[in-house]
Symmetry: C2
Subunit: 285 residues, 2 copies
C-alpha cells in the first residue's frame, strides 16, 4: 500500500511557484493574496496560519483583512470592493461559512474572474460547469486533482466514485474528473447502496465530511482512495472520511489524514495567486 502523502505534492507546486514568482518580480509584478476573515473562528485562524507559512516560504505577498463578527453586510462588501479594484492584489480568499447575518451574493457576482482563486464567483463556476480547464477551481478540489497528477494516476476511462455533492468539493471535483475522461459517479446522503458504488470504483474520492464513514468492508482490493475529509474522531484526533487503518489493508494507495489533501490546499492557493498575477501581467483582467 502506497501512502499518497501531500507534502511532496505541495513542495513540488511550491517550487514551481517560487520560480514563477521570481520571474514575475523580474517583470515588475509582485504576486499578492488578500485574505478576508470575519470573526475569529478557530478553523479559519488555523487555515490562515497554514497559508501565511506557505506564502512566507515561497516569498509570496499576502495581507489578512479582518472584520469583527458583528460587522455589517456593507462593511464586508465595501472591503471586498476595495480589494477587487486594487491592482496590487492578485487573488482574494474569503473564509466561509460567514456569520449567519452575512451573505456572499455581492462578492460571488462581482469578483473579478482572475482574482477569484477559490472559485466562489459565478464566472469560474460557469467555466467549471462548461468544462473549461483554465478556470480556477476551489482549492481543495484542485488539490485532489494535483495529487492524482503528481502520483501519475491515470484517469482516462477509470471509474471514480465521489462521495459528497457540495459546491466546494463534490460537484467541482466530479465535473473536473469528468473533463479528465474519468467515468464519475456522485454519491450522497440519499444514495441507497453506497458500499456497492464504492466497491465498484477504481478510485474513491471521499468528501462527505463524516468521520470514518467509509469502512474497510465498503472498499475493494487495489483501489486508490483520496480522502478529503477533515474531521475529529471520538478521541478528539483529526481523521478523514475513510477508516484509514481498515481501508489501508486492501487499498493500493491512500491519502493520510492529516498529511494528505489538506497538506496540498495552501500550495494550490499559492499556485493560483501566482496565476492571478500572471493574468494581471498579461492584461487579462
Amino acid at each position: 500500500m502506497i501512502e499518497l502523502k501531500g507534502k511532496p505534492v505541495a513542495d513540488c507546486i511550491t517550487e514551481k511557484a517560487k520560480a514563477d514568482i521570481e520571474d514575475l518580480k523580474s517583470k515588475g509584478i509582485s504576486p499578492r493574496l488578500a485574505v478576508i476573515r470575519v470573526g475569529e473562528r478557530p478553523d479559519d485562524i488555523s487555515y490562515e496560519r497554514g497559508i501565511l507559512k506557505r506564502f512566507d516560504s515561497a516569498g509570496c505577498g499576502y495581507e489578512v483583512f479582518t472584520l469583527p463578527e458583528d460587522c455589517t453586510q456593507k462593511e464586508l462588501d465595501d472591503m471586498f470592493d476595495g480589494l477587487n479594484n486594487d491592482d496590487m492584489i492578485h487573488g482574494i480568499l474569503l473564509f466561509r461559512p460567514l456569520p449567519k447575518h452575512l451573505n456572499d451574493a455581492h462578492i460571488r457576482e462581482t469578483v473579478k474572474a482572475d482574482k477569484d482563486i477559490d472559485a466562489m464567483g459565478i464566472y469560474n463556476q460557469a467555466a467549471m460547469f462548461a468544462g473549461d480547464r483554465n478556470a480556477f477551481a476551489p482549492c481543495t478540489a484542485q488539490a485532489v486533482i494535483e495529487i492524482l497528477h503528481f502520483y501519475d494516476i491515470d484517469l482516462t476511462g477509470k471509474k471514480v466514485t465521489v462521495v459528497g455533492r457540495s459546491a466546494v468539493i463534490g460537484r467541482p471535483v466530479s465535473l473536473m474528473l469528468t473533463s479528465e475522461n474519468a467515468t464519475v459517479t456522485v454519491c450522497h446522503t440519499r444514495t441507497v447502496n453506497i458500499a456497492d458504488e464504492l466497491k465498484k470504483a477504481d478510485i474513491i474520492v471521499a468528501a462527505a465530511g463524516k468521520a470514518k464513514m467509509i469502512t474497510a468492508d465498503m472498499t475493494a482490493q487495489g483501489q486508490i482512495i483520496i480522502d478529503v475529509g477533515m474531521n475529529v474522531d471520538e478521541n478528539g484526533k483529526l481523521c478523514g472520511d475513510v477508516d484509514f487503518d481498515g481501508a489501508a489493508t486492501s487499498a493500493a494507495a491512500i491519502t493520510p489524514v492529516p498529511g494528505g489533501v489538506g497538506a496540498v490546499t495552501t500550495s494550490v492557493l499559492l499556485q493560483s495567486t501566482v496565476k492571478g498575477a500572471q493574468r494581471a501581467l498579461n492584461g487579462r483582467m
Copy 2:
C-alpha cells in the same frame, strides 16, 4: 412497456403557461420571447417553426431577429444588447452553434439572468453548478426533468446513468438529477464499459448524439429510458441514441424519437419565457 410520450407533458406545461399568461396580461405584462437566428441552418429553421407554433397556441408573444450568416461579431453583439435592454422582451434564445467566425462570449457574460431562458449565460450556469433549482436550465435538459416528473418517476436514491457530457445536456442534466437525489454516473466516449454502466442503471438518460448506439444488449429488464438523441438513421429517418425496438422489449418505459423529449422542449421554452415575465413583474431584473 410504457411509451413516455412527450405530447401530454408538453400539453400540461402549455396549459399551465396559458393560465399564467392570462394572469400576467391582466397585470399589464405581455410575455415575449426574442429568438436570434444567424443564417439559414435547416435545424434552426425547423426548431423555430416548432417554437412559433407552440407560442401561437399559447397566446405568447415572440419575435424572430435574423442576421445574415456573414454578419460581424459586432452586429450580433449589438442586436443582443438591444434585446437584453428591451423591457418588452422577457426571454432571449440564441440558436447555436453559431457560424465559425462568431462567438457567444459577450452574450454569455452579459445576458440578464432573468432573460437567459436557455441557460447559456454564466449566472445560470453557476447556479446549476451550485445546485440552485430556481435557475434556468437548458431547455432540453429541463425537458428531461419535466418528463420524469410528469410520469411520477421517483428519483431519490435511483441509479441514473447519463450518456454524454456536453454543456447543453449531459452536464446540466447530471447536476440537476444529483440535486433531485439520484445517484448519477456520467458516461462518455472515453468510458471503458458503457454497457456495464447502462445495465446497472434504474434510469438511463441517453444524450450522446449517436444514432442507435444503445442497443438492447446494453440495457436491462425494467429500466426507464429517456432518449435525448435526435439523429438521422441509415434510411434517412429520425431516430434517437437508443435502438428503440430492441430496448423496448426489456424497458419498463421509454421515450420515443420523435415524439419524446424533443416534443417537450418548446413547451419548456414557453414556460421559461413566462417565468422571465413573472420575474420582470416582480422587479427581479
